[in-house]
């Protein structure tokens, strides 16, 4: 009889074995659910870029609107310092809008503002107030300049501000106190001597204004323009080798060139930016008096001293004050 029991028992045992094996296999599979080997991912070479950089900016080579004869300001005439001070927001102190972040023009070094704009402005304070210390410096961005004058936050603005017909609508301008223009900043060993000889494989960085791109295109239509919202980023891009040159106002380029001995400014200026001191609309007495004071700094060598101190070395050229024009 024993042999008859065997088949059934074997079947049960086999069934049991199969179940346990399946369960064990299930457990093992659960424990070993590791991913299959993955391909190494493709990663681009990381190039740090400033936010808002534009490799295909729009160029508008429109000629500047000079219909209003923008460089002609008010004749000094016989306005006195007292008349000039009449409209000051604070009679004991003139407040002046400046930059504190534009190297060589208006820059805060420690606790002191220094630069070409600051030297010119200080001479104006001396003339208007009779005391160069009766001044309140108000640092501001370039976008704030016109509004600050309109709001009465400042009495005048000396901050690399170009005289244009459009701005004449909102502010009064002094005569031109400095003539800047776009030039080229390159590395010394690049062999680039001017914008015209740059090739289509080279790129040139400038600020995000369509006119500066247009000015570049007017000289060299082949070279690739690159714009950044803050032109300071151009210097970093040049140092990192992302661009081959920078084409912005020579005053700004000078401030960059002094920071890096391997860079130099080359070529001629290929655009014209005429810097003026701005006043609130209607504040013509102050404008007239400042125009007189500007004649003074041109005549007594103060202008020349300031230029030689800040800009002559980095720009590599001598310069003299421009002749000015009056509208009356």
């Amino acid at each position: 009889m024993n042999h008859r029991r065997n088949p059934t028992r074997t079947a049960t045992r086999g069934l049991r074995l199969a179940l346990v094996t399946a369960a064990a296999a299930g457990l093992l599979l659960g424990a070993c659910s590791r991913p299959a080997n993955m391909e190494p991912p493709h990663v681009d070479v990381p190039t740090p870029l400033p936010s808002g950089i534009d490799f295909t900016p729009e160029a508008s080579p429109a000629a500047p609107d000079n219909s209003c004869n923008p460089l002609a300001s008010y004749n000094p005439g016989s306005v006195t310092a007292e008349q000039a001070r009449a409209n000051l927001n604070d009679p004991g102190q003139i407040s002046i809008g400046v930059s504190q972040s534009t190297n060589l023009m208006g820059y805060l070094e420690g606790d002191t503002l220094v630069g070409f704009d600051i030297d010119i402005a200080t001479a104006m304070v001396q003339a208007v107030m009779g005391d160069a210390t009766k001044v309140k410096w108000v640092p501001m961005t370039s976008g704030e300049r016109e509004q600050a004058l309109a709001d009465g936050r400042v009495d005048m603005v000396v901050r690399t501000m170009s005289i244009t017909c459009e701005r004449w609508e909102n502010v009064e301008f002094s005569t031109e106190y400095y003539r800047a223009g776009q030039r080229l900043l390159v590395t010394k060993d690049s062999g680039i001597e001017g914008l015209a000889q740059m090739t289509k494989d080279q790129s040139v960085c400038t600020g995000a204004s369509s006119t500066s791109v247009g000015n570049i295109a007017a000289v060299n239509a082949e070279v690739q323009p690159v714009t950044v919202p803050d032109f300071n980023d151009c210097l970093v891009l040049l140092q990192q080798g992302t661009v081959d040159a920078i084409a912005i106002d020579d005053t700004i380029l000078a401030g960059m060139a002094v920071q890096d001995p391997t860079l130099q400014i080359v070529g001629d200026t290929f655009s014209q930016e005429s810097y003026g001191i701005a006043f609130a609309k209607g504040d013509t007495d102050l404008a007239r008096f400042v125009n007189g004071a500007l004649e003074g700094v041109r005549a007594n060598g103060a202008w020349q001293t300031a230029y030689d101190k800040w800009l002559k070395g980095p720009l590599g050229t001598d310069a003299a004050p421009v002749t000015v024009d009056y509208r009356d």
Binding site: M1, R4, P7, T8, R9, T10, A11, T12, L15, R16, L19, V20, A23, G26, L27, G30, P35, M38, E39, P40, P41, H42, V43, V45, P46, P48, L49, P50, S51, S99, Q100, S101, N103, Y107, L108, E109, G110, D111, L113, K136, W137, V138, P139, M140, T141, G143, D230, N232, D233, L235, V236, Q239, G255, M256, Q259, D260
Partner: protein, 450 residues
């Protein structure tokens, strides 16, 4: 019984040596089922299959739950923790690099040490994450972060060097470093963390799921056991078969343990999520937002208050932190009913308000030509400085994080404890039930051959 063999032979007219034994054995088994002992053995096979099935699936479910909970609690080697640490360390590195730029060369330059510590934490977290990633997308994120981190530190060091030389371009390098961090690195760290949290919440749902397969098998096994006993008592006129009764009791115990352990652990896991993981994520988010606001604040001063976008980004971060419906408010809601934690969040709110007021004052100073006073207000070490209120905010959030983390560990510990011994216990119960049923049936079968 002699009928067993001939049909099998008839069905296999051309006998081949090996394959015959299988069908023949099966036919014999079928035939044996016509008689009580065979039927008893058949029943035993069914019972054994059901009890074993219930035992194995129950045990597997409990083991899987334990593994998932283990995965949520173990403090090292996990992607979500590494990703969170990475995100935090990167935010902190950026905040400290920026304020270190302002304080360079002054006695309060210990932020530079914090910067290097944050970088170490970020590197370690990145290495840990690299070992833990399981998807191609995560691998790519880790690889990209790995290529960007040295670029970031390079920019920061270049900024430092130019800063020491007094060259303004240092500020631009520092801004570019922060742009890289803000626009490229932090979003990737955030993605990595989101992916990891997504994977974790999937596993959490698994851990909370009721083991239905095991439950169904247990019910079937119990039904089969009860039916067998009724059938046997009819056949043998004996009310009880001790072995089968024992198996039934053991199986009822099995079912009770399985249900209790599963429900209790699901409850604790759920609690660990609601009271632990969710507030922890909010707290981490608040800390990182504060770090980013701090970085923007420094950038504003580095740009001599002439960076409008940094001003706007600072406002956005503070709004996200303290605005209505912001992170601190959400935390207040999450901690409703917990007085200690609510107090800490109130401390954080006060510190954030003080910071915000001081920040406005600092920006005003910077824009009115008192730049050094603004820098001192923002980065100085006295009580009125923004450093003090930022640290107070951070301390409050860190303290709340510690308590929440303890609650999380406790809840997951409870979840794990409710599973303690369950896997082994269920296995023993199922095995005992199986043996008991086998003994009970085998005793009846033996009676036929006695």
């Amino acid at each position: 019984m002699s009928v067993q063999s001939p049909p099998a032979q008839a069905q296999a007219p051309a006998p081949v040596a090996a394959p015959v034994s299988g069908p023949r054995r099966f036919d014999r088994t079928l035939a044996s089922l016509r008689y009580t002992p065979g039927q008893l053995r058949g029943l035993l096979a069914v019972l054994a299959a059901l009890i074993l099935g219930a035992g194995v699936t129950g045990m597997t479910a409990i083991l899987a739950k334990s593994a998932v909970i283990e995965e949520t609690t173990s403090q090292s080697g996990r992607l979500s923790v590494a990703a969170l640490q990475l995100y935090q360390a990167l935010s902190q590195a950026d905040a400290t690099a920026a304020s270190s730029y302002l304080t360079a060369g002054t006695p309060s330059d210990d932020v530079n040490l914090t910067y290097r510590e944050a970088l170490r934490d970020a590197t370690v977290a990145l290495a840990t994450a690299a070992g833990e990633v399981k998807t191609a997308a995560d691998t790519a994120l880790v690889a990209e972060l790995n290529t960007q981190l040295p670029v970031y530190t390079g920019l920061v060091e270049t900024a430092k060097t130019f800063n020491r030389l007094g060259e303004p371009v240092g500020a631009t390098y520092q801004e570019q470093a922060s742009t890289l961090m803000r626009d490229e690195m932090l979003p990737r760290a955030n993605d990595l963390q989101d992916n990891a949290l997504g994977q974790l919440s999937e596993s959490r749902e698994d851990a909370e799921a009721f083991p239905w397969a095991a439950a169904v098998l247990v019910v079937l096994a119990l039904a089969a056991l009860v039916w067998t006993q009724m059938w046997l008592s009819r056949k043998t006129n004996r009310t009880f078969n001790l072995g089968l009764v024992g198996a039934t009791v053991l199986l009822v115990g099995f079912a009770g343990w399985l249900a209790t352990a599963s429900l209790a652990s699901a409850n604790h896991t759920d609690r660990s999520h609601e009271d632990g993981a969710r507030p922890l994520a909010l707290l981490a988010q608040a800390e990182m937002t504060a770090q980013q606001a701090r970085a923007e604040e420094s950038l504003i001063l580095i740009a001599r208050a002439e960076d409008q976008q940094a001003l706007e980004r600072y406002d956005e971060n503070i709004e996200e932190l303290t605005g209505s419906g912001g992170l601190l408010e959400q935390l207040e809601d999450a901690f409703a009913g917990d007085a200690d934690q609510t107090d800490l969040i109130h401390d954080a709110q006060d510190a954030a308000d003080t910071w915000s007021t001081g920040h406005d004052e600092a920006v005003k100073l910077a824009r009115e030509g008192e730049f050094q006073a603004a820098v001192t207000l923002v980065t100085g070490s006295d009580e009125q400085s923004m450093t003090a209120s930022f640290d107070a905010l951070n301390d409050a959030l860190t303290a709340a994080t510690r308590t929440s983390a303890d609650g999380f560990v406790e809840a997951t510990g409870d979840a794990q404890r409710s599973l303690y011994g369950a896997a082994a216990g269920l296995a023993i119960l199922a095995l005992a039930a199986l043996i008991s049923a086998a003994v009970g049936i085998q005793m009846r079968v033996a009676e036929y051959y006695a």
